[in-house]
C-alpha cells in the first residue's frame, strides 16, 4: 500500500512544472525558469552576494566599504523573498487510516504538494497529527528535504503508529479496539511560522469540522488551504439489522438499525457537514477542496491551486 502511495518521479516533475507558477504567484518572473530560488537575487533581507553596480541599481544597496576596497562601485544583493515557507499538516488520525484508499490518497496529495513546493524553491515542513504530533519535519528545501518528508509519510501510519499497515484499514479492522487517535489540528499551531503558507490535508470528520483549529491556524498563516479527503466507502456498512456502530477515534458506540434509509441519512449528514466546512473555510479565507479517494490526485491539486490563484 505504501509503495502504491508513492508517486513516480516523472509524474511529480510534470506536476511540479505545471503548478509552479501558481505556487510562485508570478508566472515567469525570472525568465523561463519558473522556480523560486533563494539563490536568486531579490528584494529580501538576507544577503546573497556582491556585484558591480549597474545602472538602475538601487543606490541604497551600494556597499561603500567594498566599493572603496575594490575601486569599483559594488552593490549588495539579497536573497529573493519570493520563495516562501510551506507547512503541510497531514491528518493521520484513525478515521483517515481506517480506509486504506483514503490514507493512500492523503499520502499522494501531501507528497505531491511537498515536491511541487520544493521544486519551486520554497521551504517545506510537514506535520503529522492526530491527538498529538506524530511526526515533524522542519522547514527545508531541496531533494534531501523531499526524501525526508517522504520517509516521514511512509514511516507513519494513519493512526500514528510507526510502520505496518494502518490499523483501521477495513481488511485489518477488529472489534474491541481502544481508539484514541482523534484529530487535533490545533496542536500544529505552535510549530507554524508566521506568514507561512499552510496546507491541511484531512477528512475533517469531527463534529465541529475542526472549525476552531482552522481559524486558529489561519490567524497566523499568510495563506491556508484545506483539502478534505473522503473514502468512497466512507459510509459502507455491510451488515443489516440492528448494528452497533463504533467510532474508531473516540470508541463511542451507537446502536443503529442499519438499512438503506439509515445510510441515506448518514450520507445526507456527511454532505451537510461538507457544506458547512466549505462555508467556514470561505469565511475564514481558507481555500477548500473536497475529494474522494478514487479521484485523480493531479486533478484535485490542480483544481485546488487554480482556485487558489
Amino acid at each position: 500500500m505504501m509503495k502504491r502511495a508513492i508517486i513516480e518521479e516523472p509524474d511529480l516533475q510534470l506536476f511540479a512544472r505545471l503548478v509552479a507558477p501558481r505556487l510562485q504567484g508570478v508566472v515567469g518572473a525570472r525568465g523561463s525558469d519558473p522556480r523560486a530560488s533563494r539563490d536568486n537575487p531579490g528584494s529580501g533581507l538576507e544577503f546573497l552576494d556582491l556585484r558591480a553596480y549597474q545602472p538602475g541599481d538601487d543606490i541604497r544597496h551600494i556597499d561603500w566599504r567594498q566599493t572603496a576596497r575594490r575601486q569599483q562601485a559594488m552593490v549588495q544583493r539579497f536573497r529573493d523573498e519570493a520563495a516562501s515557507d510551506w507547512f503541510i499538516c497531514v491528518d493521520c488520525s484513525a478515521s483517515v487510516g481506517m480506509h486504506a484508499s483514503k490514507w493512500s490518497m492523503t499520502i499522494r496529495l501531501a507528497s505531491a504538494l511537498a515536491y511541487a513546493c520544493l521544486y519551486s524553491g520554497h521551504r517545506v515542513a510537514m506535520l503529522l497529527f492526530n491527538d498529538r504530533i506524530q511526526g515533524l519535519c522542519r522547514l527545508g528545501r531541496g531533494a534531501h528535504q523531499f526524501a525526508t518528508l517522504l520517509d516521514l509519510l511512509l514511516e507513519h501510519d494513519a493512526d500514528g503508529s510507526v510502520s505496518g499497515p494502518p490499523k483501521w484499514a477495513p481488511e485489518n479492522t477488529r472489534q474491541g479496539f481502544a481508539a484514541t487517535s482523534k484529530s487535533n489540528l490545533g496542536l500544529c499551531r505552535e510549530y507554524l511560522s508566521r506568514n507561512s503558507n499552510i496546507f491541511i490535508i484531512s477528512d475533517f470528520l469531527e463534529a465541529d469540522g475542526m472549525r476552531s483549529h482552522i481559524q486558529s491556524i489561519r490567524s497566523v498563516a499568510a495563506s491556508a488551504s484545506a483539502i478534505q479527503v473522503l473514502a468512497d466507502e466512507e459510509l459502507e456498512v455491510p451488515v443489516t439489522g440492528t448494528t452497533r456502530l463504533l467510532d474508531v477515534e473516540t470508541g463511542e458506540s451507537r446502536q443503529v438499525f442499519m438499512s438503506e434509509q439509515a445510510i441515506a441519512e448518514a450520507k445526507h449528514t456527511l454532505a451537510e457537514h461538507g457544506n458547512n466546512l466549505r462555508k467556514d473555510c470561505n469565511r475564514l479565507g481558507v481555500r477548500f477542496t473536497a475529494c474522494r479517494s478514487s479521484d485523480s490526485w493531479q486533478q484535485v491539486l490542480i483544481e485546488h491551486l487554480r482556485v487558489r490563484q
Binding site: 484513525a94 478515521s95 483517515v96 481506517m98 480506509h99 483501521w168 479492522t173 477488529r174 472489534q175 479496539f177 477528512d203 470528520l205 469531527e206 463534529a207 473514502a231 466512507e234 459510509l235 456498512v237 455491510p238 451488515v239 443489516t240 439489522g241 440492528t242 448494528t243 452497533r244 456502530l245 463504533l246 467510532d247 474508531v248 477515534e249 473516540t250 463511542e252 458506540s253 451507537r254 446502536q255 443503529v256 438499525f257 442499519m258 438499512s259 434509509q261 439509515a262 441519512e265 448518514a266 445526507h268 449528514t269 456527511l270 457537514h273
Partner: protein, 530 residues
C-alpha cells in the same frame, strides 16, 4: 380440497406477531467501526435515544414463516382428492328378502343405491359390490358399467347370517357404503367399527314367523312311519297365528293351527306315514318374509342300506344282519353298499370299493380278559361284552396297525379294528371274534354288536339316524333398526385417500431455518471480522 387433521393447531398462528415483537428486543449481532459516529446521529433505532420505535430484525419474517410452516405441519394439512373407488357392502342376509310394497328390501336398496350414484359428484371410477356375509363374493364395475348392476345377482339369505364380521376388505383406498336393513345386530357392530361414508337403509315391517327346524327319523316301532319334529319361531313384536302344513311332495299330510306369542318358539311333533322322497313343512299364509316359511328334508338318507352277506358267514350273523331295521340284504354284491364277508383268504387290494365288515374265521380260543372299547366310547360304552361269551382268532399278521385303528381289544389282543383305505374309499371293519360262538349268539348283545360293526363300517348311527333342516331363529328377525355408524366427514378412509402435506411444510420450514442459520453464521463472521 385442502383440509387439516388437527385444525386446532392453527390457533397457534396467532402467536406469529409475538415473534416479530421478540425480534425488536434482540441485541445487535454485529458491530461495525465507522470513521465518524456523528454522521449516524439521525439514524433510527437509536437505543440510547429510547424514544423512537425500534423496528424488528428483518430475519423475523423468515423465522415467522418457518414457525408458520411448522404449525401448519402440526395441524396435519392434506390435499383431499375424493376417492374415486367405491365399495358397496351389501347385507344379503335373509331379512333383506322381506317383501315390502311389492319388492324385496334388497331390491329397494339397489334402487336407492342407483339414485345415490346418480347424485354423487364427481362420478365414481370404479364400484365394487361386495357381500357382507361372504366378503369373498364381489362384483366389479368400472365407469360406464354402473347400469349393468343387477339386483337379481344378489339374493337375500344365500349365505350364512352375518356374524362376527371382520373388515379385511375395508381398504383405505376406497370409499365404503353399506346397504342394509339394520335387522342384524352384528351388522350394527361392524358398521360402528368400519369407516363408512354412507349407509343406505330400507325396511319398515317388523312381524315375521319362521320355520326354524324340521327333523325326521325312521320310526323304531313301525318302519314305514316317520317321527317328524317341527320348530316354529315368532321373531316379530306381536303375537301371530299361522297354519302349519306338512306335505309329502304335493300330498298334504297334516295341517295344524299354531298360535305364537312374540319371541316364542313352538315345537310340533307327530308320527306320519310317508311314502315320498321328501317331506316339507309350510307356514300359511305367507307373511312379509316368505323365504323362511318353508323347510324340506330329503328322505333318501333314511332308505335301508343295501347289504350283501357272504355265504361263508354263519347263519347267526346272517340272521342278525337281516333283522337289522336299516339294512336291506341283497343277493348280489354289486348292488350292495355294504359287504359282510367271512372268507379266510382276503386280499386287501382286491377289496371292492364299498364299506365292508371282514370277519376272520381262523381257529379261535377263549379270550383271557374282558374286552374293552378303545375308541368310540361315547357311542359303544353301553355295550358290555363279557369275556366268557367270546372266543377269538389270532390277529392275522398281514393286517398291520399302521393304518388300522383298534376299536375293541382284550388285554393285548385286538378284537375289532377299523382300517382306513384312504383315497376316500369306504372303511373296512375287521374282527377276529368268533361270530358263531354258541354262547355269544344266544345273547341280545350279539345283535347289538353286529349293529355296532355296521355303524362302524357305514360311518353312521343307523339305528338312531335323524335328518333335519334348520335355520337360525335370528335370521327371521326382520325388525329394521337405524344403523348408528360414525359417518364423519373426515373419516379415516378419506384421510387415507387424501394426500398429506405435512412433510412439504416441514421441509419448507427446515429449509428456511437452514437459510436463517446460514445467514446468521455469515452475519457473525462479518461481525467477528469487524
Amino acid at each position: 380440497m385442502p383440509g387439516f387433521i388437527n385444525p386446532l393447531w392453527l390457533i397457534a398462528l396467532g402467536l406469529i406477531p409475538l415473534i416479530r415483537w421478540l425480534h425488536r428486543w434482540q441485541s445487535p449481532l454485529s458491530s461495525w467501526p465507522v470513521s465518524a459516529l456523528f454522521l449516524w446521529r439521525n439514524s433510527t433505532a437509536d437505543q440510547q435515544a429510547g424514544k423512537e420505535k425500534r423496528p424488528p430484525e428483518p430475519a423475523w419474517r423468515r423465522r415467522a414463516l418457518a414457525a408458520a410452516f411448522m404449525i401448519t405441519a402440526l395441524s396435519g394439512p392434506y390435499l383431499q382428492s375424493e376417492s374415486r373407488s367405491l365399495t358397496v357392502w351389501i347385507d344379503d342376509s335373509l331379512s333383506l328378502g322381506t317383501i315390502e310394497n311389492g319388492s324385496t328390501r334388497l331390491e329397494t336398496l339397489f334402487a336407492r343405491l342407483a339414485s345415490a350414484l346418480e347424485e354423487h359428484d364427481p362420478a365414481w371410477e370404479e364400484i365394487t359390490l361386495r357381500s357382507l356375509t361372504n366378503p369373498g363374493r364381489a362384483q366389479h364395475y368400472s365407469a360406464g358399467d354402473f347400469g349393468a348392476i343387477d339386483p337379481d345377482d344378489w339374493q337375500a339369505g344365500r349365505s350364512a347370517e352375518p356374524a362376527n364380521l371382520t373388515i379385511p376388505f375395508l381398504t383405505a383406498q376406497s370409499s365404503h357404503w353399506l346397504l342394509t336393513d339394520g335387522a342384524t345386530q352384528d351388522v350394527h357392530t361392524w358398521a360402528q367399527q368400519a369407516s363408512l361414508q354412507r349407509v343406505i337403509q330400507a325396511g319398515v315391517q317388523t312381524e315375521n314367523s319362521a320355520l326354524t327346524k324340521l327333523a325326521v327319523r325312521r320310526g323304531l316301532g313301525e318302519a314305514d312311519r316317520l317321527d317328524v319334529l317341527v320348530a316354529i319361531h315368532n321373531a316379530g313384536l306381536d303375537a301371530d297365528t299361522r297354519q302349519l302344513e306338512i306335505r309329502d311332495g304335493q300330498k298334504l299330510l297334516q295341517t295344524t293351527d299354531v298360535s305364537l306369542k312374540a319371541g316364542e318358539t313352538f315345537y310340533w311333533q307327530a308320527q306320519l306315514a310317508v311314502s315320498g322322497k321328501s317331506i316339507s313343512a309350510f307356514l300359511q299364509p305367507s307373511d312379509y318374509l316368505d323365504h323362511d316359511d318353508m323347510l324340506t328334508v330329503d328322505l333318501g338318507q333314511l332308505e335301508p342300506v343295501s347289504t350283501h352277506v357272504d355265504e361263508t358267514c354263519g347263519p347267526a350273523l346272517m340272521r342278525a344282519l337281516s333283522t337289522h331295521p336299516r339294512l336291506k340284504i341283497e343277493n348280489s354284491a354289486t348292488m350292495a353298499s355294504l359287504l359282510v364277508t367271512c372268507q379266510p383268504n382276503f386280499i386287501m387290494n382286491e377289496a371292492p370299493p364299498i364299506a365292508q365288515i371282514r370277519v376272520v374265521t381262523a381257529p379261535t380260543e377263549r379270550i383271557a380278559e374282558a374286552p374293552t372299547w378303545f375308541s368310540y366310547e361315547g357311542v359303544f360304552q353301553h355295550l358290555s361284552l363279557p369275556g366268557e361269551w367270546l372266543s377269538a382268532a389270532t390277529w392275522p399278521d398281514d393286517i398291520t396297525f399302521s393304518e388300522t385303528k383298534i376299536i375293541l381289544r382284550a388285554g393285548d389282543q385286538p378284537l375289532v379294528a377299523l382300517h382306513d383305505r384312504g383315497n376316500s374309499l369306504p372303511l373296512i371293519v375287521y374282527t377276529v371274534i368268533d361270530m358263531g360262538h354258541p354262547l355269544f349268539i344266544a345273547q341280545a348283545e350279539y345283535a347289538a354288536f353286529v349293529a355296532t360293526l355296521v355303524d362302524l363300517a357305514s360311518g353312521r348311527l343307523l339305528l338312531d339316524e335323524v335328518i333335519s333342516s334348520s335355520r337360525d331363529p335370528l335370521q327371521s328377525n326382520i325388525r329394521p333398526t337405524p344403523v348408528n355408524a360414525k359417518l364423519m366427514r373426515s373419516t379415516p378412509v378419506q384421510q387415507a385417500t387424501a394426500k398429506p402435506l405435512s412433510s412439504v411444510f416441514i421441509i419448507a420450514a427446515l429449509l428456511l431455518l437452514a437459510l436463517d442459520a446460514a445467514l446468521l453464521v455469515r452475519a457473525r463472521e462479518v461481525a467477528a471480522s469487524a
